[in-house]
Amino acid sequence: MAQITLAKAVNNGLRAAMDANPKVLVMGEDVGKLGGVFRVTDGLQKDFGEDRVIDTPLAEAGILGTAVGLAMRGYRPVCEIQFDGFVYPAFDQIVCQVAKIHFRSQGRLTMPIVIRIPFGGGIGAVEHHSESPEAYFAHTAGLKVVACANPIDGYWMIQQAISTDDPVVFFEPKRRYWEKAELDEDRPPAPLFTSRVVRPGRDVTMLAYGPMVKTCLEAAAAAAEEGKDIEVIDLRTLSPLDMGPVHESVRKTGRAVVVHEAPVNLGMGSEIAARITEECFYSLEAPVMRVGGFDTPYPPSRVEEEYLPDLDRVLDMVDRSLAF
């Protein structure tokens, strides 16, 4: 079995989805000949043609707004937003139309639209290219929001998202695009909207998604050397949240640390902390701790390593939780 990068895995997933269903379209800026700035759509236009892989004019509202019309006509558009920081011009179409049309029409209209967003920092980029806007979408009823963390999930989750009859905002951790894993296409994937324990442990529960899953696994490995046994859960789905495995874990460990790159204030961690506390109140030995980006705009890349949660900051929070 060959090793495959996350970028290639999503590319293969898109290809499989387009092969399986002629109604699947890919649209966005530079998704055609260039294959996207991260090459995630590489080769698709060559093989599926310009009618199915559409280089659009440079306007995100236009991409999502026309996707709504295409969806009404029976197509399943997969819209690429080039970088996280450029999704905002489409925010109105996403929040007021994509998210609400099923509700508005009492289900007469469905919106099987996937919005692919390479997100997060750590690649030394300029402003607007390293953001984590997931909380905006998770707070928006009518959308479903997921984040993949590795090539295997990248391959399967994009196909599952495309076959979902509801709009799915699909976050791809851009700094992990070049990381590899073995993909066994015969091994059936987990359901899309489920979280998963990726490392069992007894002392503390660590919750992450997207780029921070790897960071947390590394932190857990380091902690193990100090005799701390950390359980790591890859949330995978941010809306709906799959809290079952999380509550189960916290009832066992009594401690939880949520980690994400987005600013802590009103980030996913706030909702997760609130829910854990509601459900596991008497099991908690310490308040749910949150590690994330600071409550500032994303800083110049020369300080992003300080801005982003890293092994040390995660472990520091683990210690605070254990010492509480």
Binding site: G62, M72, D92, Q97, I101, Q106, L109, L241
Partner: protein
């Protein structure tokens, strides 16, 4: 604005179009009911059809009047009247074919009528029992869209879907289809609408941008949105724009028909500016006396879209015995039905809202619904 001595001619130099190519209004029926011919647009239907239009116009206005009355009596939360814009809507609506698709704003009651949408279904949104009570696919008529301009992009995307389905310029004119996007003068300022123009022109999508310039965006006159005639906006995007007398149902029909035909044939988008007037308030919540003078209203009353059709029919004595009375009678009957239906509209069940968010239910939301159901039932005993 001080005019620089050579500002104006520089304007020329720079290529500002003053030629008013198509500047004058396309009109086929004068306010006095006189038929006119136009070199480029001819009305190709008979007096039978004009009588049909007359009926459409009267029914639409009657439905609108009844809805306004229902709002006054507290049966609707709000109503957006189309008073004065009947011709623009009936003319364009009747120019559509069954497999064409329309994307309305919140004021297209006349178009809805043409698309066979049951008038009662228009009231749900305004009564607050739903947010769009008809099946868009049953009538090829989208749901009312309240966010200004958003539907123009939906229309363009839908038209791109038609292209991909091979029903544009296929040569088989009976299957060829097009989209018509309705929007107002104020909407032309929204980024979305201008992006729709770009998409439609770049992809040569089969969409007719039908702008009802009713001179007002709530309290703002057209001057706040554009300093040139709106139909000229299309020049900047490389497709045709034309201004039609929006109170002339024949002209609106002829121009819309030509534009729709172009679109179906694969010749791309067209911008139609229906020059009309909002005779009523923006909505029943609005008070126009704060921002506009009654003279304006009086002036436009002389151009009433219905009166001129009646004048034409009368002048030419083509109508059967008590045609007008029977139309009025039918209108009153429809209005009565509408009122009755409105009062009987059932309130939605609170639990429905949880089930209509997603196509594939979210487990979270199911829990929320069940909790709330439990909470609601906890009151049952309470009295």
């Amino acid at each position: 604005m001080t005019e620089s001595d050579f500002g104006p001619d520089l304007g020329e130099v720079f290529g500002l179009s003053h030629d008013g190519h198509g500047a004058e209004l396309v009109q086929l029926l004068t306010p006095e009911g006189q038929r006119l011919e136009h070199p480029d647009f001819s009305f190709d239907l008979d007096d039978e059809a004009i009588m049909g239009f007359y009926r459409d116009l009267v029914m639409t206005r009657r439905i609108d009047t009844e809805a306004t009355a229902l709002q006054r009596q507290g049966e609707l939360g709000i109503w957006a009247s189309l008073l004065g814009q009947e011709a623009a809507q009936i003319g364009s609506g009747r120019a559509m074919r069954p497999n064409d698709f329309a994307f309305p704003t919140y004021r297209e009651h006349g178009v809805a009528w043409c698309r066979g949408v049951e008038p009662l279904h228009l009231l749900g949104l305004f009564r607050g029992v739903d947010q769009g009570g008809w099946d868009p696919y049953e009538h090829n008529f989208g749901l009312y869209t309240i966010v200004i301009g958003a539907q123009t992009l939906h229309a363009t995307g839908y038209a791109m879907g038609m292209q991909r389905d091979g029903v544009v310029g296929s040569g088989e004119s009976d299957q060829d289809s097009a989209v018509i996007a309705y929007f107002g003068d104020g909407a032309t300022s929204q980024g979305d609408v201008n992006e729709a123009f770009i998409w439609a022109s770049v992809f040569n999508a089969p969409v007719v941008f039908f702008c009802q310039n009713n001179q007002w965006a709530i309290s703002e006159p057209i001057e706040k949105q554009s300093r040139i005639p709106l139909y000229q906006r299309a020049l900047g995007f490389g497709f045709p724009g034309i201004r039609v007398d929006g109170n002339d149902v024949l002209a609106c029909y002829a121009v819309s028909q030509a534009a729709l035909r172009r679109a179906r044939e694969g010749s791309g988008p067209t911008f139609v500016e229906a020059y009309t007037y909002r005779m009523g308030a923006h909505t029943t919540s609005d008070d126009p006396t704060r921002y506009r003078v009654t003279e304006e209203l009086e002036h436009w009353k002389l151009k009433d879209p219905i009166a001129r059709v009646k004048a034409y029919l009368v002048r030419n004595g083509v109508t059967p015995e008590n045609f007008f009375d029977s139309v009025d009678a039918e209108a009153d009957q429809i209005a009565a039905q509408l009122r009755k239906g409105c009062l009987e509209l059932p309130d939605p069940s609170p639990l429905d809202m949880f089930d209509q968010v997603y196509e594939d239910e979210s487990p979270e939301l199911a829990v929320e619904r069940d909790k709330f159901a439990g909470y609601l039932s906890s009151f049952e005993g309470a009295h």
